[in-house]
Symmetry: C2
């Protein structure tokens, strides 16, 4: 962790995640460097074949087939090869040469985490692996740091997008297991050999990593009890629905008071969970980690669990954080004046609006209001008028609720002022904005 | 960031959060120290009055009314006084004396963050403030570090539990604003002076902090456009429901392409959001932060937004993380052998089970199955038998679905083995476990 002028980054592997990491490191180099406070330079990408087709066209000058040589000239090594070897050896070489490591390799962390972390601790190197569990969802750092002062009781997690997609299809579309697997395969949610996903092996590796973080002890991946979803039938899903439940493949790790005293249980199996549980609403290929902590209470972290560019987000977050450590030894502060965008006045936003007015119910009023809106450049999507009621002066008064298309705030404010001063309008009851649509 | 043998911690303030932090620092001192890798010693608690009543009875020897003196003998200062002064001066004194700072003071970070972060950067001190936004929910660290390599497009956040409680009461129970505020006050969700919450001022401070983290630039709290929920009526809530929406007080910060080019808009107002949006399901006093990032896609962080012990979780997470920095300059690894719990065999877990059997439909079969379950110590909660159908040999075969009370896995496995070998049972179709109930 010395002071550097530039941070030399070696990328090992250029598959679906690796090629997205390469793309973002090249396209966003200036912004990432500004945020980290140090120039982040991609010095090479180790691949098996120089001329393989890739999602992103990595400049040939960066490509090499000699990963070992590349590791020796890096300050941070990003390992996205996957599997145990040669990933393990390359990471140990990186650590030995004083580099920090960023990896998304769940199999390796689950199987050899203890060895790698010990090697890193000896030389003060950092191993970050946010991408190893739940893709883009920040969960490693929250468990390792944000919840480090709490007592975690239980984690229930959907950490395998393929099986969640399959079970969700069965639950929501009535697919059989076979149909759902076929659709998952066609849409790219399932690999040609589905065993790792469907059999729960992938989830078990992630469960071991979560257990280690939650309970501060070694949890070998092969100590995790595991059942897959192969035998789940449409009948079981239907029966679960009748009972107010859905079936999800859960990675579970919890503190248990067993016959032999308190201990940790870590397991993966398809479980019945009540519809009203937040995990029941996790659809498609998404992931979610539900954490119960003694002080914090229940927490949930939700998002995309896989995908090249999504997982690349987690890798780059680890990289920028590792880079900042070389600058000031800390996580850095968020502000970087060079990269900062201006603060826009409120009138510059655009959204949809709901404008509620009371109007005197007489002929021509609606046309006049429509005219004011059109003049103001506010386009109407819906209009609803209430049944008129008798107002104070015996006039018939109606409530008019106008839904607009996306409009500029400034235009809406001007238009509302015009409406307010128009004698067609008795009062502007409210202006509400739509968000999240 | 020197190597220390013990970490001297000063706590400023012993209100609802501070007294919980004191309690956990005293009760869990050994475990927190083991996790941090350094002895964490609470050396004093600064209070206004030595004999005020508190949620936790802090030993008198720790109490002092001289916060300035206490700050001088600490390696980490936890500031939970709130408000601008004397909190600001005390934090600057802490930084000047080389201490790291942990604070939950949203008003101070929103108004004087730039000054405090600059002072800390000059001496390499760390200011952590996870507790300042969304209570126990880890959001500061995920935004500052995990998403540091991504491009955040928009944050929509429910960051004020009081107003969410009020709007949720109106939406789900048909309360008027007045009724809902009364209930919120009675249940402790609203202070005697509700202006800070109801007027959106608290949410605006948090919006400014989120904007700063998301967009890497200074966002003064008073630049945030703000509307409160005071004028929201039962009629508006009902109309929103009719339109498939609910109304939530949202803190919003987003990248906007305005007339003058790209910039940041940060604002707080009650907004209509569709029922199917994840934020619409955030009930009661809970908080949630919905983040849209270019690479990661949509993410949501959900949990308790306030409460003394919940917020204390965030404070202690920051403290342990700061402590680890003094040990090895990094976030530390999660494993601490001394504190680790044993891994329990799978048979030790307890949950509820759903056991599905096919049985020959003849008199006495149900009694025999019930007997096997009772012998195994597995208590039955529900039994459902399907209409019998004709099986292979012309026998009438029925499906029996048994729901159990909470039972031990080992007992269930033994019992299922007994069922399988009983001639009353044709086959064991499946054994599924309930979770999250």
């Amino acid at each position: 962790m010395s002071e550097l002028r530039t941070l030399r980054v070696a990328l090992l592997g250029a598959g679906s995640v690796g090629s997205q990491v390469a793309r973002l490191l090249i396209e966003d180099a200036a912004e990432l460097s500004a945020r980290a406070g140090i120039s982040i330079d991609l010095v090479g990408v180790a691949v098996r074949s120089l001329d393989a087709a890739r999602d992103f066209d990595i400049p040939a000058a960066l490509l090499t087939t000699d990963a070992h040589e590349l590791v020796r000239r890096a300050d941070v090594v990003i390992e996205l090869i996957g599997g145990i070897e040669p990933a393990r050896t390359l990471i140990l070489e990186a650590i030995a040469s004083g580099a920090d490591v960023v990896t998304g390799n769940k199999a390796l962390i689950a199987a050899h985490g203890a060895e790698l972390f010990a090697a890193a601790a000896r030389v003060g190197a950092l191993i970050s692996y946010e991408a190893a569990v739940a893709g883009a969802i920040p969960i490693i750092r929250p468990l390792r740091e944000s919840l480090a002062g709490d007592r975690i009781e239980r984690i229930l997690a959907i950490v395998n997008g393929s099986t969640n997609f399959i079970l969700d299809r069965m639950d929501r579309f009535g697919d059989t297991m076979e149909q759902a697997q076929k659709t998952a395969f066609e849409l790219g949610f399932l690999e040609a050999d589905p065993t790792l996903d469907v059999g729960g092996y992938d989830a078990a590796q992630k469960a071991a990593i979560l257990a280690r973080l939650a309970f501060h002890g070694e949890v070998p991946a092969d100590s995790v009890y595991r059942e897959g979803i192969e035998d789940i039938t449409a009948e079981q899903i239907a029966a679960a629905a009748k009972a107010g439940c859905t079936i999800k493949l859960l990675a579970i790790t919890e503190r248990v008071s067993g016959a032999a005293g308190e201990g940790i249980s870590t397991r993966v199996y398809p479980a019945l969970i009540p519809r009203e549980h937040p995990l029941a609403s996790v659809h498609g290929g998404n992931n979610a980690v539900f954490v119960e902590a003694a002080a914090a209470g229940p927490l949930m972290f939700y998002g995309a669990g896989a995908g090249g560019v999504q997982t690349a987000s987690a890798v780059l977050g680890d990289l920028v954080s590792a880079a900042r450590r070389h600058v000031d030894g800390g996580p850095g502060q968020a502000v970087n004046a060079a990269a900062a965008l201006p603060l826009l006045p409120f009138g510059e936003i655009s959204t949809k609006y709901q404008i509620s007015l009371t109007v005197i119910d007489r002929p021509g009023v609606l046309a006049r209001i429509a005219g004011i809106l059109a003049e103001g450049g506010v386009s109407v999507e819906t209009v609803e008028q209430s049944v008129p009621e008798e107002g104070e002066n015996g006039e018939a008064v109606a409530v008019l609720v106008i839904g607009t298309h996306t409009s500029r705030e400034a235009a809406v404010q001007d238009t509302v002022a015009s409406l307010r001063s128009s004698d067609a309008v008795k009062s502007v009851v409210s202006v509400l904005r739509f968000e999240g649509a």
